[in-house]
């Protein structure tokens, strides 16, 4: 249903301890943000992509994911490149300009460069996020949060939400199919009212389900730890080695 979740459980790196994967990908992510350097970001992008492919995530799917945030990035980059000015055009290297009365609208080389840099940094960071989410089952992240002493109540809410996301998505899909079969969603008007019915039903069903699950919890000994176990951590020299090499490489790229 949610493909990312399925890949997270079934990839070649799913057995690597989450600590290694989280620290590695977050390190690369933060370093590329800190560096704001094209070379660094590009290298980060290459490393993450290679690892994602090594984890046996289909390349077609990975590319699909990479295209996903493109709308936002484009909507975010255009305003960065297009400038307005009331006076004469400042600076140099103008690529394009029009004037509307007193108002100048222009695109110059420095803002294009800035936009391109931001694009690279963003794509590099996004690939780090994908490396993390495509190889790490959510439960493993919860174990890690538990170890890091994040509020247990908070972790439990996340765990319950995670468990029932899928149930509710299924219910929503069933209702949606049933409504479509009965000619809902054929116009804006019926679409909106049908969605209203669906949302209301879904909300009520979540509450009924919560009441039932409360009975289940009571039947099984009351509210205890939802996440009880954790995964033993043993240092992997291979992982540490890879980490050190990447660290060295990025620092070198950044300083020279």
């Amino acid at each position: 249903m949610l493909l990312i979740d399925q890949y997270a459980y079934h990839n070649r790196f799913s057995d690597i301890h989450a600590f290694d994967k989280v620290t590695f990908s977050l390190f690369m992510l933060l370093f590329s943000l800190f560096a704001r350097d094209m070379k660094v970001s590009f290298t980060v992008f290459l490393i993450s992509s290679i690892m994602i492919l090594l984890a046996r995530i289909p390349i077609k799917y990975y590319i699909k994911l990479l295209v996903l945030p493109i709308t936002f990035i484009l909507l975010g980059l255009i305003p960065l490149m297009v400038n307005f000015s009331l006076n004469a055009i400042p600076g140099s290297e103008i690529i394009f300009d029009i004037s509307m009365g007193k108002l100048f609208i222009y695109v110059d080389m420095s803002s294009v460069r800035a936009a391109f840099q931001l694009f690279m940094v963003s794509i590099g960071s996004i690939s780090c996020l994908y490396l993390l989410i495509l190889t790490t089952p959510l439960v493993e992240i919860l174990y890690l949060l538990k170890k890091w002493r994040i509020s247990p109540l908070f972790i439990e809410m996340i765990a319950i939400t995670y468990r029932f996301l899928f149930t509710l998505i299924e219910t929503a899909a069933e209702i949606y199919h049933s409504q479509s079969s009965r000619l809902g969603y054929t116009s804006f008007r019926t679409g909106l009212t049908s969605l209203g019915y669906l949302t209301t039903a879904l909300f009520l069903k979540s509450f009924q389900k919560a009441a039932k699950l409360h009975q289940a919890v009571e039947s099984r000994g009351g509210y205890g730890e939802f996440i009880g176990s954790e995964r033993e951590y043993s240092l992997s020299l291979l992982n540490l080695g890879v980490f050190m090499i990447v660290l060295l490489l990025l620092v070198l790229l950044f300083t020279f």
């Binding site: 249903m1 493909l3 399925q6 219910t171 069933e174 209702i175 199919h177 049933s178 409504q179 479509s180 079969s181 009965r182 000619l183 809902g184 054929t186 019926t190 019915y197 669906l198 209301t200 039903a201 009520l204 069903k205």
Partner: protein, 287 residues
């Protein structure tokens, strides 16, 4: 005389996660018949149903409704869905309106009919399903048996030609199940084709004219009731039980209690009648 209402030709469907749910389904559903689809959980029954009114679009293959190939345009699908009604399995999840009347009138309202026409259809559907006196009730206050009947009314109210039901008797006790079966027979007598899926082999054996056996996304068997049920290996392959009545009947024939019948008995009562006749025959011979 059989005219097909729906024909599917080598339907293949794959879900987003890569599982191939339909692996080439070619079938003909005949007009006016009572058709039962058998198969284990995961055989592809529900996925197949969702193709019949165009909710799902096959990866390859085609579907023909009354001789015309289904097109996936908004307009065509709208007309198709009025004629092909699907009743999903879980009425608990599927009734989404606050009151019974609102739910039953949802479909007709979407058809863009006049208020009068809507009311006529809704009234007819409620009368047919015996839900008239429920119409003002809150949907969540209904019993499971009532919910099932209401969900049939919801689809019937669009006056479809073909009714598809996913496990219509699941979760019902035999009393309510019988009521649903009677209702389906009545709808069928009104001239509507009925296709349903069920885990209850005995019910399928008693009720259906035609049987389709799905297994692992493929058609294992498809044909008249007797023709299919007499093939023991089919049932073994599909991991399905055989109807109890049929097993007993065959045992009795094999042991010469009575000769092979033109009409295989469908129910316990049929079988007992046959036995009564043969008993008196044996007794006479004995005298």
């Amino acid at each position: 005389m059989t005219t097909p209402i729906i024909t599917t030709n080598n339907l293949i469907y794959r879900y987003g996660d890569g599982t191939e749910a339909l692996k080439g389904i070619s079938l003909t559903l005949n007009q006016g018949k009572k058709i039962a689809i058998l198969g284990n959980n995961g055989a592809g029954k529900s996925t197949f149903f969702l193709h019949l009114n165009g909710i799902l679009k096959p990866l390859s293959g085609s579907i023909t409704f009354k001789g015309e190939r289904i097109q996936y345009t908004k307009k065509y699908l709208q007309a198709l869905r009025q004629k092909v009604g699907i009743i999903f399995q879980n009425p608990d999840e599927l009734l989404f309106s606050p009151t019974v009347f609102e739910d039953i009138s949802y479909g007709p309202r979407n058809l863009g009919l006049t208020k009068d026409a809507i009311e006529r259809l809704v009234h007819w559907a409620m009368k047919e399903t015996g839900t008239l006196e429920l119409q003002k009730k809150a949907t969540h206050s209904l019993s499971i048996g009532q919910k099932k009947r209401v969900s049939i009314a919801c689809v019937l109210s669009m006056d479809p030609e073909l009714l598809i039901l996913d496990e219509p008797t699941a979760g019902l006790d035999s009393y309510y199940a019988k009521k649903i079966i009677n209702l389906l027979n009545q709808i069928n007598r009104d001239g509507k084709t009925i296709v349903l899926s069920t885990h209850d082999i005995n019910f399928a054996f008693e009720w259906a004219d035609e049987i389709i056996i799905l297994h692992d996304g493929k058609v294992l068997g498809n044909g008249g009731r007797e023709e299919i049920f007499l093939q023991k290996d089919l049932f073994q392959k599909a991991n399905l039980e055989r109807p109890m009545i049929l097993d007993l009947y065959q045992f009795l024939i094999d042991n010469d209690y009575f000769p092979t019948q033109k009409q295989i008995p469908r129910t316990k009562e049929d079988l007992l009648k046959l036995l009564s006749i043969s008993t008196s025959r044996i007794l006479k011979n004995g005298q």
